[in-house]
């Protein structure tokens, strides 16, 4: 019974957290530069059909990203019907909330979404050292970069040279996994951001670039 209780507690503590596979990665001797930001594309804008699912509640809409200058990105989320829900700006290492509807203005939620988008933008990695790894099957080139007090692991598929996955991890526990899928013209047309410790999933499907 005691073991059962301990197992239950352990299971509860680990619920939603996923142990990473980083112990099986082989660290390369060299360090290298940060990966190229996928949204850093000649100041173009990208339009995504977007769904934010949080604890089984869905909010859908259109997400627009626009690179304003080299290290400056604007991210605007509107409903399908045109109403603006939030307007973020990521400039160098700073963040500005230009607008947010009151119904979306929940600090924990906003902060989490802001954090997720920052990981995807790869905008605040400049000057940070990257540690290189390879996986056991030598399929991916993996860069580990410190992000806040955690690590981001960027998985680049060696055959295509596409970043296909970003894992945001604390020590060996994955917190957020970003999957970048279905590349077309060197850009992922589907991005899924999934949290391991809360029921939050953001899915972006490219409509236009």
């Amino acid at each position: 019974m005691r073991n059962l209780l301990l197992s239950s507690i352990l299971l509860f503590l680990l619920a939603g957290c996923t142990l990473g596979h980083y112990g099986r990665l082989k660290e390369e001797a060299t360090t290298s530069s940060i990966p190229k930001p996928i949204f850093g594309d000649n100041f173009n804008s990208f339009l995504f059909k977007t769904n934010i699912s949080i604890y089984n509640k869905d909010v859908s809409g259109l997400l627009v990203t626009k690179q304003m200058s080299a290290q400056d990105y604007r991210i605007i989320f509107t409903t399908e019907l045109g109403m603006k829900l939030f307007d973020f700006e990521f400039k160098d290492t700073s963040f500005t909330l230009h607008y947010c509807v009151p119904q979306f203005n929940r600090p924990a939620l906003l902060k989490t979404i802001q954090h997720d988008i920052a990981i995807l933008l790869m905008n605040n990695l400049v000057g940070k050292p990257a540690n290189d790894f390879t996986d056991r099957n030598n399929l991916f080139a993996i860069k580990r970069i410190q992000f806040d007090n955690m690590y981001n692991y960027y998985f680049t598929e060696k055959v295509t040279n596409h970043i296909v996955k970003i894992e945001h991890s604390k020590k060996k526990v994955k917190k957020v996994v970003l999957s970048l899928n279905d590349y077309k013209d060197e850009f992922p047309t589907n991005v899924v951001i999934k949290h391991c410790d809360i029921k939050l999933k953001i899915e972006l499907n490219l409509l236009k670039r």
Binding site: S60, V64, I76, E80, L81, M83, K84
Partner: protein
């Protein structure tokens, strides 16, 4: 989250401008205009129309353009459907609301929420051009040779947070709404142009149930 959805819906038929466009003057006999609008809307039992929606964001170089089709039937039935560049449907059937997104249908009870009810009323009144009698908006009426322009500013503080003014462009020939604009406090706006409008053609009730 329901409140968010309601607010989202409230933006459906709206577009905004900070100032009255050139070519319009104030309507002198506003009482007669109001009476004519109300009497004309009573003659309309169904509406079917295509629409083109433009979203203007000042920081973006291009507008976001979406296209679709809508149907309206008295009393209190509306289907608002986007076809390009994405599929998305909102349908209201008396006290029920349906949303179909990405193949998934969600159903809501409009009476479960006070704000749901008020937005439902606004949507229905807007497509019929009946907003003049709505106390939630302060109205100004203008006219040109071919159109009336009805400018509606929200009175309540909550609405003012996300909406500066609604403009309805109304065809003088048949008093139909040809364009709606919703301007946000920062002057970004959404505009919706209606084309291929057909009044009083039979529409099956099934159209307002989304499966």
């Amino acid at each position: 989250m329901k409140r968010l959805l309601l607010i989202v819906l409230s933006s459906l038929p709206v577009v905004l401008f900070a100032q009255v466009p050139k070519g319009f003057t104030a309507v002198k006999d506003t009482v007669a205009f109001k009476q004519k609008m109300e009497s004309q809307s009573k003659l309309v039992n169904t509406i079917e129309s295509d629409f083109t929606q433009e979203k203007y964001l000042s920081v973006m170089s291009e507008k976001i353009i979406s296209k679709g089709h809508f149907c309206f039937k008295k009393i209190n039935m509306l289907r608002w459907e986007y076809n390009d560049p994405y599929k998305y449907i909102i349908a209201i059937n008396k006290d029920k609301m349906f949303i179909k997104d990405n193949g998934k249908v969600s159903k809501y009870d409009i009476n479960s929420n006070k704000m749901f009810k008020s937005i439902n009323e606004m949507m229905m009144n807007t497509v019929q051009g009946n907003l003049l009698s709505n106390k939630d908006y302060k109205a100004k009426e203008y006219e040109s040779d071919k159109q009336y322009l009805l400018e509606l500013a929200p009175v309540q503080k909550g609405a003012k947070d996300f909406l500066k003014v609604i403009q309805l462009y109304i065809d003088k020939a048949d008093y139909s709404v040809v364009k709606v604009k919703m301007i946000e406090p920062g002057d970004d706006y959404t505009s919706i142009d209606f084309t291929n409008r057909k009044n009083n053609q039979p529409i099956d009730d099934e159209k307002f149930i989304v499966k």
